[in-house]
Symmetry: C2
Subunit: 133 residues, 2 copies
DNA sequence: TTTAACTGACACTATTGTAGTATCAGTTAA
DNA sequence: TTAACTGATACTACAATAGTGTCAGTTAAA
C-alpha cells in the first residue's frame, strides 16, 4: 500500500483549489484543468470527500464542489485514512516467530511507537500549509 | 511500495536464526523449516544478503549460510534499503503545482524532515533487539 | 566414482493494487 | 429542450507482491 498515492495527491490538489475559491462551487472539470489532473480520475477521487463531509456538491449546470471544513484542520493524514484506511506500518512486523507473544515482543513495541509518532506528525501537515509561501 | 514486505520479513527471520547458530553454516532448508518460510522464496531472499556482505555461503553438501556482521549493527532500515531501495515516502508529494518551486515548498521540507527522522529510528531497530526477551 | 544435498541463477504463475478511461442515469440552469 | 454537470459503476492496462519450479554447477560422503 502506497502511503501517498494518486488518490491522496489529487485530493489534496483539489482541496487546495477549493480553498482558494472560497464558498463558490467549482466544477470537477475546472479543478482538473487547474491542476492538470485526469478528469475522470478526479471525479472518482472527489466522491469520498463528499461521503466524509469534507466537501459539498451540487448537481446540474453551474454545479460543482466547495470546501466545507477549515483547511487548517484538514490534514494529509486524514486524506490517507480516507483513501487507504487506517495508517499502519505493518500488522505485526513479525507475525509468527519471533513475535509469538505480541506483548513481549520488543520490536513490536518500538514499531508501534515509531508508527504513532509518524502519524502524529502527518496529522500536523494540513492543506492550509500548502498555501503558505 | 510496501515498507516491510515478505522479503524484509523473511530476511530478518533468517538472520535471526543465523545469529543463534553462531559461526556454523546452516542450510536454507533448515532456516525455512525453523521459521516456516516457503523454501524457494527464502532461497531467493538470501542472495541479496550475500551480495551485500551480510552473510557468507558455501555450496555443496553440508553447505549453507552464516552471518558475517554483528547483529547489533544490522538494522531493519538496512534490510529495507536492500530489498526496496532507498527509503523515500514520496518522490515529491506534489510534483507539479503547487510544488513548482521545490525549494520554497513548505510541505516538501516538512515531509523530508519527517522522512529522515523516521529513517533514523528505523536505523536503530536492529536484529539483536529481536533476540531480547 | 557415483550419489545426494546443497547453492546460484532464472523463469514462470497467480493475485492484488494502482492509474487511468468510459459509460449511463439523473439533475439543473438557461 | 438542451447542455453542463454530478453519482455510480464497469472496464482496461500495468506494476508489485508472493509464491513455485527448474536446471546447472559444487561438494561431502558412501
Amino acid at each position: 500500500m502506497k502511503l501517498i498515492n494518486k488518490n491522496v495527491d489529487y485530493a489534496a490538489r483539489a482541496l487546495l483549489v477549493m480553498s482558494k475559491t472560497g464558498g463558490v462551487f467549482i466544477s470537477a472539470r475546472d479543478i482538473a484543468a487547474a491542476q492538470k489532473i485526469p478528469y475522470h480520475f478526479l471525479r472518482r477521487v472527489l466522491q469520498p470527500l463528499i461521503k466524509n463531509g469534507i466537501v459539498a456538491s451540487v448537481e446540474g449546470t453551474k454545479g460543482g464542489f466547495k470546501l466545507l471544513v477549515d483547511p487548517a484542520k484538514l490534514s494529509i493524514l486524514k486524506l490517507i485514512s480516507i483513501y487507504n484506511g487506517k495508517f499502519q506500518l505493518s500488522e505485526c512486523m513479525f507475525r509468527g516467530k519471533p513475535c509469538s507473544n505480541r506483548r513481549t515482543c520488543v520490536l513490536r513495541k518500538e514499531v508501534v511507537k515509531i508508527e504513532n509518532d509518524f502519524a502524529e506528525r502527518l496529522g500536523k501537515l494540513t492543506i492550509s500549509k500548502l498555501l503558505q509561501k
